[in-house]
């Protein structure tokens, strides 16, 4: 792995029997968080694999990766889940997609793959045969957790929901109104993006990265491009790094505005929702004027950005943001004074801080529980190192806290954009990569999207083509929080609590 301190990453390979103890030592470092776990095929030895655990070590501004080879003769590894609950879904994914058994894992069920696939379907293995998988006998029905007792009943919801949102299945166990247990079953929009990327050039794979989650197109594209740049040893010009901050914060702005509107919608506060959505639409239209695409697609490329803020557009963006912020503050005041809204959001959907830490929560959902983490500060990328800002924290972990974090971050985003514009030097906004293909090897790229940590772990082969692309979206880290947040709450509050996280189904399912 391309590792030295300047890349902000390090990686070690250990024998398989020392993997768990090495990870345990890393997990005990201050503020350490398991960011992702991924498997890969061994390029040299068919049927052999490797697994990697990636930890965020913010105190050292470092992503530390621990890997171990797995021989073809014994496709298994010791599960870290009993020790690190954050490893749960990552290890379930490794089992279903690679057929590697995490020994000691408490939950043997698949995570993303549904029963239409025969047992033994492992799509990311090199010898996977899609035709055989399509024609085989479907796997047995997925066993949901059963809550039993007098008066307990189940409410199944989805995959097709009432609103204009993505598909997923929620299985509530309730006794009367309060929710005893919520089981979330996703994977409906699984598109096999990681497999599809294999064999493509980085330029071809970029269009896939931008479509992992449409409302995080720029962040996913940015994380992917940074991984390519690390492998190529290329640094985009200073102007490009600042412009990346501008576009990344514009993406955060429109998403946070939409999220805050959604909370108002779900409590029936139509006035508040309408006002926020007007602001969101203004940002989307401005994106199109600045960069040619409302969702900022096709802007970030390896080596820089394709959209320069030429001439007066920087100045007009500045005045646009000033008026946007003034309008936002006015509507925000109305939110905070609306008892009908605040009664519903305060104390609703609480995630305890300990749960957020144990499950490896990221982004505003984690910061709303007081967990101090933000990649822009912990692992600075683009030009964030030269643009100090305040990480926005709340303590209560409820819907109100998540809304407050997003509202405060809106202000920070406006300030970050305006300071980035102040510093914008003359010069190109894009540089070519060094001649030839990027070096073979593995590198990480990351970005703090509006939902939190986007992580791309990219391996290129000697022809410069993608050998493995592991994509960890913030939604994958945060979906389990929702099950915790709704416990003991009443079913009618579920849409509100769900909206306060506003997680991406497509980002989770890929």
């Amino acid at each position: 792995m391309a590792d030295d301190r300047s890349t902000g990453t390090e990686s070690v390979t250990v024998p398989l029997d020392r993997l768990a103890s090495t990870c345990r030592a890393l997990s005990r470092q201050p503020r350490a968080r398991l960011a992702c776990a991924a498997a890969e095929n061994d390029p040299r030895c068919p049927g052999a694999f490797a697994v990697h655990y990636v930890f965020s070590l913010p105190e050292r501004s470092l992503y530390s990766s621990v890997g171990a080879p797995i021989p073809a003769s014994a496709p298994s590894f010791a599960s870290l889940t009993p020790l690190l609950p954050a490893a749960n879904l990552h290890e379930r994914e490794i089992r279903e997609f690679f057929g590697l058994t995490p020994v000691g894992h408490p939950d043997p069920r698949p995570n993303l793959l549904h029963e239409l696939w025969p047992e033994g379907t492992h799509p990311l293995r090199r010898d996977f045969d899609p035709a055989a998988a399509r024609s085989g006998q479907p796997a047995p029905d997925y066993p949901f957790q059963r809550v039993q007792g007098e008066g307990v009943f189940e409410i199944p919801v989805g995959p097709v929901h009432a609103g204009i949102i993505e598909p997923g299945h929620f299985r509530f166990s309730v006794a009367g109104e309060p929710i005893i247990n919520l089981e979330i079953r996703l994977g409906f929009v699984h598109k096999g993006i990681e497999k599809l990327a294999e064999g493509r050039t980085p330029a071809e794979a970029l269009s896939l990265a931008e479509r992992v989650s449409g409302d995080a197109s720029f962040s996913h594209g940015l994380a992917f491009c940074q991984a390519v740049e690390r492998l190529a040893g290329a640094e985009p010009p200073p102007r490009a790094l600042l412009l990346r901050v501008v576009f990344a914060e514009l993406e955060r702005l429109y998403n946070h505005l939409g999220d805050i509107a959604g909370i108002a919608t779900d409590v029936g506060f139509a006035f508040g929702a309408a006002q926020m959505l007007i602001l969101r639409e203004r940002v989307l239209q401005r994106n199109r004027e600045l960069a040619g695409h409302r969702l900022l697609r096709g802007i970030v490329v390896p080596g820089g950005v394709t959209a320069d803020l030429a001439g007066s557009s920087a100045e007009s963006l500045r005045s646009f943001l000033a008026s946007l912020l003034a309008d936002f503050i006015e509507v925000e005041r109305i939110y905070l004074e609306a008892d009908s809204l605040m009664d519903r959001v305060e104390g609703t959907g609480v995630v305890p801080r300990k749960v957020a830490e144990d499950l490896g929560a990221v982004g505003p959902a984690a910061r709303a529980c007081g967990v101090d983490e933000d990649l822009r500060q912990d692992h600075p990328y683009a030009a964030y190192a030269e643009l100090p800002f305040q990480v926005q924290l709340q303590e209560d972990g409820d819907v109100a806290a998540r809304m407050a974090v997003k509202a405060a971050e809106l202000r920070e985003s406006v300030s970050l954009i305006s300071r980035a514009l102040d510093r914008l030097p003359e010069g190109p906004c894009r540089s070519g990569l060094p001649d030839g293909n990027p070096a073979a090897g593995t590198a990480l790229g990351w970005a703090e999207s509006s939902r939190g940590e986007v992580l791309h772990r990219l391996t290129l082969d000697s022809q410069g083509r993608v050998a493995r692309l592991k994509i960890k979206s913030p939604s994958f880290s945060n979906w389990p929080l929702l099950s915790w947040a709704v416990r003991g709450e009443i079913v009618p509050d579920f849409p509100l609590i769900n909206k306060s996280f506003n997680l991406s189904y497509s980002g989770n399912d890929r």
């Binding site: 479509r211 409302d215 497509s506 399912d509």
Partner: protein
Amino acid sequence: MFDIIRRNLKTGQVTVPVTAGGDPEFELVGAELKAKLSRLLNGRSLHVREVDAGSCNGCELEITGLSTPVYDIERFGIHFVASPRHADVLLVTGPVARQMELALRKTYEAAPEPRIVIASGDCALDCGVFAGSYAVYGPVESVIPVDIRIKGCPPPPMSILRALLAAVDRL
């Protein structure tokens, strides 16, 4: 709140200045749609059920945008409904993910005839960048009959409005 309401009353519709800058056609197509609907449906709205069959959520972002005050598509008589049982039109996005194929089929079967189907976005038309994946079943028309097709990644609000106008012509 009342300050803003008072000012809004003076401002008038936000739809006018914003769309006049970008897309004056939006108002024209909308007016045509409204006229047709009031003739064909006796004054009731056209009921649209949105189905995400595997999209990246970019299409959903734009479709929800249609209901914001800036476009306010309900004023033309377009109403997004919560159930396929109430739908005149299914607006389907995404390549059909294998794991959504059955749900899409069932949603279609649940809708009353004539159930006009709009395949919305490049992925819905030909799977877009996701073509060739083991996890993708195929374009929308490989699962249910498609009446109207919209290009775009994602299709902008104007394209969706035009497709709805075309859907009314099929009623």
